[in-house]
Amino acid sequence: MTIRFKMLSMLTMIAALALVMLLMLYLGIKREERLIILNASSHSILENSLRLSGELYRYFMKTYDYMAVPYDPSASESGTGRSPIHLKSIEKRSRQIMGQLENDILRESIYLEGEEKEKQKHELKILQEIRTVYGDSVHHVNQALLLHSAGYHEQSLQFLSNIMEIKFKEQLKGMLNQLVQHEKHEAEDISAILITLGERLVMLAIATSMSTLILSMLIGLFMVRSITKPIKKLMKGTLAISAGDLGHRISYDGADEFSELARYFNKMSTILMSQRDDLLEIQSSLERKNDQLTLEIRERKQAEEEARQHQARLAHVLRLNTVSEMATSIAHEINNPLSAIINYTRGCERRLVSGEIDKPVLKDTLEKIGAQAERAAKIIRRIRNFARGIKSDRTRVDISHIINDVLAIADFEARRQNIIMNSAPSGEALPMVVDRIQIDQVLWNIIINAIEAIANSNSTRREIDISSARIDENYAEIAVHDTGPGLAEEDLKDIFDAFFTRKPEGMGMGLAISRSIVESHGGHLRATRNSDSGLTFHIKLPLAKEGMSYES
């Protein structure tokens, strides 16, 4: 049931009530109307009675007149005198009135019933008497006429006047008085009735309006209740849900909007509950993930710590590796003066044995031996310079010094591999604050890689170009350009990954460590493919800020 339907039914009820009240009112009025009609009828009886008495009087009078005037047939023929025919018409009319009276009484008796019938009896009795008087009167008039016609004019006249006296002055008058009295009573009754009717109407109006008011109030209350009750329920439900009780359901019956709303509400709370359950699920899974993440972060931190230690170990390995490669290179380089010394001494020995040596030649050769020993010592000194200062100290140094340091050592290896190294340092000073040993290692590593790349290739051009230049106001770059076979684009991105190597004996650590060293200096290490062949490595490092201490 919809609310509209409820309201419609309420309105219909009100209308029906109003109709019932109207009907009651109508019926009440109808009753009063009947009483009034009855009264009107009584009044008519009275009127007719009066008329009848008037007619009777006239009848008497005419008859008297007729009898009083001596009979003159001529006069009667001429029509000027009154004739018995004329009397007849009066009689006839009287009879008519009489009939009317009887009809009135009859009619009134139809209306009357119960108690009222009793009340009217008196009236009827009076009428009866009137009729009797009338009948007696007509009879007496006819007797008088008969007397008159019999020639007893005087007697007839006397008789008639006596009758008239008796009938009118006593009987009829008394009866009429009674009637009037009765009418008067009735009128009083009517007025009382009318007053009652008016009072009743007022009462009815008041009662109707009161009851309508009360009814409307009741209906209003009911309607309000019927609306507020589900709203309260809904509110309670909403409060319950807002308080977190998503399991709360609103009971409903029927098919009105509230029931529908309640159904939707329940549906909503069901959805909310399932969503809350989902949320709780998500929350718990998030918590789990969070725990997992926390754990992972801890593990990662641990792993990072391990990686740092590992890198430190690797850096050490790289250093050892570097030292090992340097050692090889140094061995090659020192071999030359050593071999020369051996050759000179053995040559001298043989000549001394065979006795075919001059003193000046011997002296000259011994000098040469000394020079070769000096040369070897010089190489060792240079290496000591290179390896000096193992402590990790950042000092201010010009980029060209680093390049010169490394080239001095790497040159042996390059020559060994028949590779030409061209150095093109920047004309301007490019100071930076770096761990010189570490950056030396990075550059050394890259140059050795370049040398190996060329050595293991069939390149006709065997050159390495090392240049330095300022990039912007904050950075400078060392570029190492080789003419080796280079790398495929897809491999290029992997070369800085640990364990990426193309050398059978390589560990694939050099470039990975080099990059981390450069990045720890706030720089960047990358490799690009050359347009013709080979790779260029770019060591980008931040320039020293003004005011930093300088150490040559």
């Binding site: 090889t328 061995a331 071999s339 050759n343 053995r346 040559g347 020079a371 028949n418 030409i420």
Partner: protein, 204 residues
């Protein structure tokens, strides 16, 4: 053949060159030194006997490249490659391409001198064999096509009349050819002729 065997030393390190000369000359060998492979090549006459002592690493052209170049040209001069420590892979490569020997520096002087002597001897032998080969080749070249054809049959062991039947010619004609072949090849006997032809074909 009249040339004196020479030890050609190619090294970019001047001290090495000088000291090697000093050492090698101490045993009475003739030494020529060059500072680079290119320098050596522009001055070298393949007819000159001897051996080449070359450093494995040099700017421009390395010892190995020089040796590979000789191998490609079929030049026969023996090469001793001086390598540094840890250049085993290079030494193997050198051996594979036909270098006589390699020696790791710093080297024992006696070993180097022995190797040089061996190389010179080998070169002399090679040159002798090559000279003989050239002589035989020249003799074969002097034969007419028909004579060469007949010689193939004779070397294969066919008798004169079999050769005559094979070539559909008279035995007399075969005998004339045979006499001419023996004369031109300067082979006194049939076994000598067979030996020469086999040597020419590269067999022992």
């Amino acid at each position: 053949m009249n040339h004196k065997s020479t030890v050609f030393v190619v090294d970019d390190d001047q001290d090495m060159r000088t000291s090697l000369r000093w050492l090698i000359e101490s045993v009475g060998l003739y030494v020529e030194t060059y500072s680079s492979a290119a320098d050596f090549l522009s001055n070298y006459d393949t007819a000159r006997p001897g051996c080449l002592v070359v450093d494995v690493r040099m700017p421009g052209m390395s010892g190995l490249e020089l040796q590979e170049k000789f191998a490609a040209q079929n030049a026969s001069i023996p090469i001793i490659v001086i390598t540094g420590h840890g250049d085993v892979a290079m030494a193997v490569r050198a051996m594979k391409t036909g270098a006589v020997d390699f020696i790791e520096k710093p080297f024992n002087d006696q070993i180097l001198l022995d190797r040089i002597q061996q190389a010179i001897d080998k070169d002399a032998e090679t040159r002798l064999i090559n000279a003989e080969y050239s002589t035989i080749a020249a003799r074969i070249a002097s034969l007419t096509p028909r004579e060469r054809e007949v010689m193939e049959f004779i070397v294969a062991g066919r008798l004169n009349k079999q050769v005559a039947a094979d070539l559909d010619i008279s035995i007399k004609t075969v005998e004339v050819h045979r006499a001419k072949i023996m004369e031109k090849m300067e082979a006194g006997t049939l076994p000598k002729l067979v030996e020469m032809v086999l040597r020419h074909k590269g067999k022992p």
